[in-house]
């Protein structure tokens, strides 16, 4: 695993997130659930807790966008780049953006939202890319069944280096 230079991390264990807008590809409830489960991937192995808020600013703002979307890192249409996120910090720090030129799905067609969201939230929490194939933080997308998804030891070591283990 890798962390970002300077090891940016959240100094609090209770983080908020807000789903700013939705993709038309999935029912909103499916998006809500995929995002909730993606955060659970990380809260299951650390002391972190995630609370959803519905207005105002949240630590992690989640949005779907196409092309240039105001952060200076334009998306590139269908395929290639799927999403990006920012390391922990004020303002745009922690935010996650998903390219709505992709076709987001809850299964094995096109791009699975749960898997990409879990990866991006790893960045939102301070993990950079891992070169371990099979790790969630590996940069290339590959489908695994979300129902049987398990965080790799590499990912777990990285996130627990930043936030410690979940207290029993």
């Amino acid at each position: 695993y890798e962390t970002f230079p300077g090891n940016p991390r959240w100094r609090k264990r209770h983080l908020t997130y807000r789903i700013v807008n939705y993709t038309p590809d999935l029912p909103q409830k499916k998006v809500d659930d995929a995002i909730r489960r993606a955060f659970m991937v990380w809260s299951d192995v650390t002391p972190l807790k995630f609370q959803r808020v519905f207005k105002g600013h949240a630590d992690i703002m989640i949005q779907f966008a196409r092309g240039e979307h105001g952060d200076g890192y334009p998306f590139d249409g269908k395929g290639k780049t799927l999403a990006h996120a920012f390391a922990p910090g004020e303002g745009i720090g922690g935010d996650a953006h998903f390219d709505d030129a992709e076709r987001w799905s809850e299964y094995n067609q096109e791009v699975n939202l749960f898997l990409v969201a879990a990866h991006e939230f790893g960045h939102s929490l301070g993990l950079a890319h891992s070169n371990v194939q099979g790790a969630l933080m590996y940069p290339l997308y590959s489908y695994v069944n979300p129902a049987t998804f398990r965080l790799s030891e590499d990912d777990k070591r990285g996130i627990q280096k930043l936030y410690g283990r979940k207290s029993s």
Partner: protein, 76 residues
Amino acid sequence: FPAQLKLESSSNRDLEDLKAYLDRFFPLLTKTPSLSLEDRIKEMQRFFHLTLTGKLNAETKETMKQPRCGIPDIAN
């Protein structure tokens, strides 16, 4: 003659795509001296466990086409 021209233009495009990919995901860090293109290709091949050729071979091209996250692969 046209075939040759076509061949050149596609390899030029491949080269442009490669440089754009390297600039985006394996950006030259300010502190490292400017690496040769061959070294930069090797850096990417090393990260993705590809054969270290320093050349834009088929498996390197294939990796570049994979859907992925937009964050650089070397943390900077």
